[in-house]
């Protein structure tokens, strides 16, 4: 197990370096420039050149990459857009994103798994078919479109703003009211974020359950005369949930980066919106740092999933 962990960690490190180099090349070579995106007759080309120099953009690409790494690790990495330390910009937003995505994940898991199990127990019943239909609907409806409809409906119905992370006229609110206000603002975006996840995960659970109940050991358990409930929830379900671990591995990076669109639609001040804006403004330091963070998280997610597999399933225990 120990040597497996070390070997995996080394592989992860190599992968990470590879990812960062490739993304650096793609991002900096893409069309566009962080400086003077507009054409202003009062800004002479000479000044643009000087700015490029100040931002080290005149240097060869490998030097720029080296400088970025160096600045990242010495904490001297500043955003092109507002001259603030990149880590500070990310730090002030990351909790908002985590909160939103944690709630969405909670909704996904607490609804999707019971739904999937329920459908699989009554395969091809009316309720199962309804579930299938709902799941396809949930996967195929564009979430930003649904978001607009729900926002419209909510505002029309209640006349209370849903935008942002809180109402901003909260000075004369009591603590209770502030909490309610925050929950109200959290509700719509997290539900919409969760819809696709619920649809997908409940399908996974359903098909995984259906596969497991056909296994020999389930038949054996039934033949032994165990009650149906015990067979289903103790023997079958535990095995059926194994593949869900993989999905959990993917979920960690999703927690950070999965809400770019929803954050933009709901004006949620998180890092999803930050990365969108940074890409538009060609703010290379911010884009690269966010990409790296998200790569690290994906790799950690995979790594954790690998380890969890070993723990959950004796058949794939690593030597």
């Amino acid at each position: 197990m120990g040597s497996f962990v070390l070997r995996r960690l080394f592989q992860l490190f190599v992968t990470l370096v590879g990812i960062s180099i490739i993304s650096w090349v793609i991002i900096t070579q893409a069309p566009g420039s962080p400086i003077a995106l507009t054409m202003d007759p009062k800004v002479s080309p000479k000044i643009i050149e000087q700015m490029m120099k100040n931002y080290d953009l005149d240097k060869p690409i490998y030097q720029q990459y080296g400088l970025w790494l160096k600045k990242l690790f010495t904490g001297k990495l500043y955003s092109f857009k507002d001259g603030r330390p990149v880590m500070e910009k990310i730090g002030e937003r990351i909790w908002n994103t985590l909160l939103l995505n944690a709630v969405a994940t909670l909704i996904i898991f607490s609804l999707a798994i019971p739904l999937g199990v329920f459908s699989s127990r009554r395969q091809y019943s009316f309720m199962d078919n309804l579930g299938t239909f709902g799941a396809y609907l949930g996967i195929s409806i564009p979430s930003f479109w649904l978001a607009y409809l729900l926002i419209l409906a909510t505002v029309k119905l209640f006349g209370y703003p849903v935008l942002g992370m809180r109402s901003f006229v909260t000075e004369d609110f009591t603590t209770m009211e502030i909490i309610m206000d925050r929950l109200w603002h959290l509700m719509l975006p997290s539900i919409i974020l969760a819809i696709g996840g619920i649809a997908g995960l409940s399908r996974y659970t359903r098909s995984s359950m259906l596969e497991v109940v056909r296994q020999d050991y389930v038949r054996t358990a039934k033949a032994k005369g165990l009650p149906e409930e015990t067979v289903f929830y103790k023997h079958a379900l535990r095995n059926a949930l194994l593949p869900i671990i993989t999905i959990f591995g993917f979920l960690i990076p999703d927690l950070i980066g999965g809400s770019i669109i929803m954050e933009s639609v709901f004006a949620w001040p998180g890092i999803g919106r930050l990365s969108y804006q940074a890409v538009l403004a060609r703010d290379y330091p911010v884009v690269m740092t966010l990409l790296t963070i998200s790569a690290v998280l994906t790799l950690i997610g995979n790594f954790v999933a690998d380890i969890l597999y070993g723990i959950a399933d004796p058949r794939i225990r690593h030597g």
Partner: protein, 527 residues
């Protein structure tokens, strides 16, 4: 969810005497030397003061931090600013000429990431004569230089020993302006409050909250639920917002215009009769009607048409396909082979019109122009390119036939960088326009300090260029906004009497008298 619904049944009373402004983007630097975006400029306008500012008609200057100033023309003109005494920074320190010099030095420092340096390049020397006198000497007469002293002055004592590009000051600014900075929550809001020690008196409003709302549709909803008092509008929102009982909508020509620029190095466009014909063939009214919902005015030349230097005698070339055909025939363009396309010496009149992608207005204009020119027998191919590609591979290397673009201008009429023939090589004259008389007039205009004389010069330029038609000047869009009706301009006299006046649109913008805005008590009760 049930509890939430129960809760939202009521909306809490809002702080009454405040102004909620919405903006589509967050600010970047709350520092007038570094800022480039409009959100930052808005806030900087509340927090900082320049030495001077434009008057409400955008004609002359009025003093702000400078009580008065004196321009001594000559081969090396001298401008002396006499500063207001007793002005305090928001932290209590006194403002002096050293701060002005510091601001200038920071702009000129190559390490400062500012785009403002060009306007000061003709300054030979800037010096502090005494704490309340600041003097600038120019290398040559340069009247547009005066405008550059409207820039917000930054405090030396807070920025002297730090790197201005990354200073924390840029997030919590200290200025001399009518409003003091309170807080900035990234991507949510920026709050400023009335400065009680402002030298022109404390503003009437208690505070201004600048809300960042990145989505147009949602911004509209916030306006309707009164979460926003004042907001810019898109043309498609203008009419329906005008129907909302508690809103008043305003419009004002913006400082700039959209045009079709012709590459004058291309033999197709060499003849000015051809360019006049092209302008005759483009139906600008139709373009304004369909693309801008009627919310724009036809442009007649290189100036926005509501300001003093725009010559009112120059009328736009009317839409007249007949006249266009006649002019083209004079220039030798006829449909001799009957294929519906004009030709000359066996070559058809065919060119490619380009613009940048991502700008729907320009795309729509292009499609209309393509159809309109086809009607008089000109075959136009219309192509879109990504902005940086568009600039690098086409416009800057002059590798295009015609392009649709727009200029955003400053208030000063000087557009030397766009039109002077010396700017063909490395400047912004990418259509290679060259007219010796116009060249001379642009030079003369930037040397002349007298407003009336300048006006004559620019009116003449306007006439000449309307004749030359180096561009087909299309339209000036209207800047649109909506404001809640509860705000008034309140004049207070010594006896505590208040006189209410409606807020009206000035050439310098709706917010010119912002410090006098107020929500009077009775209008709140009416709501």
């Amino acid at each position: 969810m049930g509890i939430s619904i129960a809760f939202v049944g009521f909306r809490p009373p809002q702080k009454v005497n405040q102004l909620l402004i919405s903006s589509i983007g967050d600010a970047s630097y709350l520092n007038p030397v570094l800022s480039q975006d409009s959100a930052s400029s808005d806030i900087n306008g509340f927090v900082f003061n320049g030495l001077i500012k434009y008057d409400r008609n955008l004609e002359k200057f009025v003093g702000v931090l400078a009580e008065s100033w004196e321009v001594k023309p000559g081969p090396e003109p001298v401008i002396t600013f006499f500063l207001r005494k007793g002005v305090q920074w928001h932290d209590g320190k006194e403002f002096t000429a050293d701060d002005v010099k510091f601001t200038y030095d920071k702009i000129m420092d190559e390490k400062t990431n500012t785009v403002r340096r060009s306007s000061y390049e003709l300054v030979k020397k800037a010096e502090v004569l005494d704490p309340y006198t600041f003097r600038v000497i120019y290398r040559q007469p340069f009247s547009p230089g005066l405008e550059s002293w409207t820039i917000g002055i930054i405090p030396r004592h807070l920025l002297e020993n730090v790197d201005i590009n990354t200073a924390t000051f840029n997030r919590k600014p200290v200025g001399t302006g009518p409003f003091r900075f309170v807080e900035w929550v990234s991507d949510e809001k920026i709050v400023v409050e009335a400065n009680p020690t402002y030298f022109e008196g404390k503003p009437n409003l208690d505070r201004i909250v600048y809300r960042i709302i990145p989505e147009t549709a949602l911004n509209e909803m916030e306006i309707l639920t009164r979460g926003v008092d004042y907001s810019g509008l898109f043309p498609f929102e203008y009419r329906r917002m005008g129907e909302v009982p508690f809103l008043k909508v305003y419009s004002q020509p913006s400082l700039g215009y959209t045009y079709i620029g012709y590459n004058l190095k291309n033999p197709l466009f060499e003849d000015k009769r051809v360019r006049q014909a092209l302008t005759h063939a483009v139906n600008r009214d139709e373009i304004v009607q369909y693309v801008l919902y009627g919310l724009g005015t036809a442009a007649t030349g290189p100036f926005p048409n509501h300001l003093w230097y725009c010559n009112p005698r120059v009328k736009p070339l009317p839409y007249d396909p007949g006249a266009a055909r006649k002019l083209l025939a004079e220039a030798g363009w006829m449909d001799s082979n009957g294929d519906g396309i004009l030709d000359r010496d066996g070559k058809p009149f065919r060119f490619t019109l380009i613009t940048n992608s991502g700008n729907d207005t320009r795309r729509d204009v292009g499609v209309l122009v393509q159809r309109q020119l086809r009607e008089i027998g000109i075959d136009v191919k219309f192509e879109l390119y990504e902005w940086s590609v568009f600039l690098k591979d086409f416009v800057n290397v002059k590798h295009f036939d015609a392009c649709i673009l727009g200029w955003g201008l400053s208030v000063d009429p000087d557009a030397y960088e766009i039109w002077h023939s010396s700017q063909i090589e490395k400047g912004f004259n990418f259509t290679s326009y060259r007219n010796p008389e116009v060249d001379r007039l642009w030079e003369q205009g930037r040397r002349e300090y007298d407003l009336e004389k300048r006006k004559q010069i620019y009116w003449r330029i306007h006439e000449l260029m309307a004749e030359d038609q180096p561009y087909t000047f299309l339209y000036t869009p209207l800047g649109l906004s909506a404001l809640q009706k509860k705000f008034f301009i309140v004049e207070k006299d010594g006896a505590g009497n208040e006189r209410l006046e409606p807020i009206k649109m000035e050439k310098a913008g709706l917010t010119y008298d912002l410090t006098k805005w107020m929500v009077p008590r009775q209008t709140v009760l009416e709501q």
